[in-house]
Symmetry: C2
Subunit: 560 residues, 2 copies
């Protein structure tokens, strides 16, 4: 008989310095999160496991990274880099090189847990300023040394690996300063290595910190918010949890300054212009393949949390929840900042995680025919000017009710908001017991959504003992995204890769994009040619060749 | 003593066929508009003219275009084009070649009035479909024959001239069909030669014409709406009068299909995607320099004129009107569809044109200190879902009142709407008496607006006897545009060119864009390198070279 009060010994201790674990562990070294007991039970049951499986952690990555790997860059060249940034900003040790060549993709983590050191850079350089970067790019161009850029390190698409070695520029050490705050234009210009919390804090406390008249927000809150950089958002086309109102990173960028092997330039900061194809847009999403972003001007918004209104509805099934979300997105009442529609599997887990299962509201839902295994949670938040937010909230309620949605107050939404940035910590806890948890995501038009959803879900669920939770979370009048979270017992990298490849193929076959907001990296790179077609890839190749004739800028990135 | 009841004999007769006049005349051949008597008086006084100056029309372009100019394309090559499109779709006569090589820029018109035939194509071809265009582009590429694209012909930037001769493709003859209407995704896919009214009509009457459930609008209403094509909007980055809510053409495009010398491709129609730099965006604004647009998918919106609310306010001066518009644009209550702020010179003319001068409201304004020579008109319209529109209207009123705006009801706005597409007809009437009327426009951030406004205005007003009316009409949280209308007595092309060049330089010096929504054409092309800087122009050149290694696609366009 399975003991119900068994609690696994979740590993909650700071990783030792210089260990593999200290590299792959999510977030703060002394912050942890493990599945709540309800979620633990779900996982155990769905994955066909028992408490025994949670007794002995595996592949903890506790070993130190030994300083064995020699750099392949000549001592003479190393001195040239040192002369630019100073000895204190250049690192050759294996640990540093490994650390800044890995992101947070499942594959990165599996490798690190197994103590594998692969595809790392030869030198880690922390540039102090724009001038340093101009010299480094010129030097790498001249010497044909590959150059990679590391922002916050939260990449989940193998975007930071360095198969050809070379240099990694770490931007969040020094290249993280405010350049200009412009309250008149509602813009802020920062160096790209500024991290999410510092950026948002500057804006929220603009009167105190920037002598501003009002408070502002950047409106960009990806799950990786705390450990991602402004520049990273821009060059990988990220999207925050409130993007439906504030826009994706793509929409938030006003202008950019780049240093490329063929020159430096800053795009204009006009609110719009009809002077031909926009260089500003060509650079967004370039993932370090064209040049190094050294400054970015972003739109900012009024920070007025007092106008926010949270809502949660339960729908009989995913289709009706999606239908309501589509109607909300096309109603022209403005867009909610946050909107999330979970499928039934995710809804059932959420009910357990938020402690709602078996509660009075749960019973009422049952009475209303909103049953586990079918019901679907829609939640969100409206923002903006007080009465705009109020009216939108009202219109959303109306649309949801018309589509058989049962209003559950704002409570579950507020619960979700509390954990919105901390869920990635749970991944380490599960990985410690050999349980894989990963995600893939795609954008899709409304008319293709259901086919894509079922094809991917069916594929994932064919893997025995696998959880597949799906939600749509970024909305547009023309469509949305689907975000698939899968949890299964798997540790072998090759097995995982082949499983993942199958999902990507299903996305591609069913007219999903290769990514809505994770980016391309080396994970999606092999699929890009098929996805865009040769003629479109050739355009990107031509641009790449213009900027980077020696192919030193993140070589292999974007599939170029 | 000047007679006040004198009315010039405005020329209101259909131009004869095959005349220069039949080419440059705006719009329908049997539609006319001349300045109302109040406006006539303003012009006369400001330009230091008298009734005598309006007695003898000049340079009417009534001469027939003689069929004298031989094509420089070989008879063998002409047969090849004929084989593709059929004899009935190919024209070699000078009239056709001139007609499709000229737009509606002041310079085009001055030339035509003087009977000048310059920079025209050798052959005019009306392609029947995508397949024709693929063959034509391949043929031109092979034979190195320049290829130009003509949409609706409303271009005001010398974008249609053919200094190197070659072929002009006319898109609005056959390439004007509906491809797909997608009510689920709120999109419509059309051939690029579909004209504004047909496009909007299809959408407004979607239930009757497309078997749709609801009515829609494209939301794109440039002043040239009736005589511009959907493709033209996209490749020149146009902007409609309701763009502040619906977006610029740039924002409205979901996906595009292009035929280029190096291949054909169709971009994806995802609502968003993080798969690297977006080919879809690289093509927008390419002005025929990269390839021929053969299909475009656009966003559509609910057509609900019943929710629209018009408003007009009078402000003590331009600065306060602009300040209110800035606050509206940054208030996060949503954006009005139409918003226009006129400077005092334009306001004074508007008061005369709308017959408000000397009226009771005018007297009340005077009483309130809103005096001619200083007061400034702000008008606009809210759209969207009923309560969204209602709240926005309310918030706008609040902001305007806080900024000393006097509410004048929606009446002047409705008056303006009636003439919104017909004002260009007036140009012909004035030109007939040697009076030049032209416009230049630029986008600008809020913090640079006043400096740009004064620099350009001062420059224009230095020209003796010149009217300069200015408004801002496309709004963003980060800035707006300035649209300068100047009226002066001038007929000499060189004098005009030099005057215009001075304005462009003032715009450039004062951090305005070269164009907010007119595009580049050959008018702005010479200024592009300075405007974007060599490094950014080199990027465009690299892309151009990729698509068009023989430089046949609109050679010289965009300054490439």
């Amino acid at each position: 008989m399975e003991k119900h009060d068994f609690i696994p010994e979740w590993l909650e201790r700071e990783p030792d310095q210089q260990t593999f674990r200290s590299i792959f562990k999510w977030g703060e070294k002394d912050r942890f999160k493990h599945p709540a007991q309800g979620f633990y039970t779900v996982i155990k049951e769905a994955l066909g496991l028992s408490n025994v499986d949670f007794q002995t952690p595996v592949n903890l990555g506790d070993k130190s990274v030994e300083n064995t790997l020699k750099t392949t860059i000549s001592p003479e060249d190393i001195i040239l880099f040192e002369t630019i940034v100073g000895r204190e900003n250049l690192f050759l040790d294996t640990y540093s090189r490994l650390k800044y060549s890995t992101g947070k993709s499942m594959e990165d983590i599996l490798h690190l847990r197994q103590g594998k050191i692969e595809d790392i850079s030869d030198i880690v350089v922390h540039p102090r300023n724009r001038a340093d970067i101009i010299k480094i790019v010129a030097l790498c161009h001249e010497k044909k040394i590959p150059l990679h850029v590391y922002g916050g390190g939260s990449c989940v698409t193998l975007g930071l690996t360095c198969p050809k070695g070379g240099v990694t520029l770490v931007m969040n050490t020094h290249m993280n300063k405010l350049i200009q705050f412009n309250e008149i234009n509602h813009t802020i210009t920062v160096e790209p290595g500024m991290m999410g919390p510092e950026y948002e804090d500057l804006l929220n406390y603009a009167p105190e910190r920037l002598n501003a008249k009002r408070r502002y927000t950047g409106g960009h809150f990806p799950q990786s918010f705390e450990f991602s950089s402004v520049g990273g958002w821009v060059v990988t086309l990220g999207s925050g949890q409130a993007s439906s109102y504030y826009g994706d990173a793509y929409d938030l960028v006003v202008s950019q300054e780049y240093v490329t092997p063929t020159g430096t330039f800053k795009t204009h900061d006009f609110p719009a212009t009809a002077t031909g194809p926009k260089i500003n847009d060509i650079m967004k999403g370039s993932e370090g393949c064209f040049g190094v972003l050294v400054a970015v001007t972003m739109k900012i918004f009024l920070y007025q949390p007092e106008t926010a209104r949270q809502f949660t509805f339960m729908f009989p099934k995913f289709e009706t929840g999606i239908k309501a979300a589509q109607q909300i997105s096309q109603a022209e009442s403005g867009m909610p900042s946050i909107l999330r529609v979970s499928d039934s599997e995710e809804t059932d887990v959420a009910m357990k995680m938020y402690g709602l299962e078996g509660s009075l509201p749960d019973k009422y839902m049952g009475f209303k025919g909103l049953k586990p295994g079918s019901r679907c949670l829609l939640m969100g938040q409206t923002d903006g000017e007080k009465y705009f937010s109020k009216n939108l909230f009202k219109q959303i309620k109306k649309i949801c009710k018309t589509n058989q949605g049962l209003y559950l107050t704002g409570y579950p939404m507020k619960k979700w908001q509390k954990g919105r940035f901390s869920d990635p910590y749970m991944r380490d806890a599960l990985n410690d017991f050999g349980i894989l948890i990963d995600t893939l995501e795609a954008s899709v038009t409304w008319d293709r959504l259901q086919a894509l959803y079922h094809a991917v879900r069916d594929y994932i669920k064919k893997q025995p003992h696998t959880i597949c939770m799906t939600h749509a979370s970024h909305f547009y009048a023309q469509g949305t995204n689907l975000y698939f979270i899968f949890i299964t017992k798997m540790q072998d990298v090759d097995e995982f890769r082949s499983f993942q490849r199958g999902i990507i193929e299903k996305i591609e076959e069913n007219f999903g994009s290769l990514s809505h907001h994770h980016g391309v990296g080396r994970m999606m790179a092999p699929f890009m040619e098929k996805h865009l077609g040769k003629n479109q890839m050739d355009i990107l190749r031509a641009i790449k060749k213009h900027f980077d004739p020696h192919n030193i800028m993140n070589p292999g990135g974007l599939g170029l």
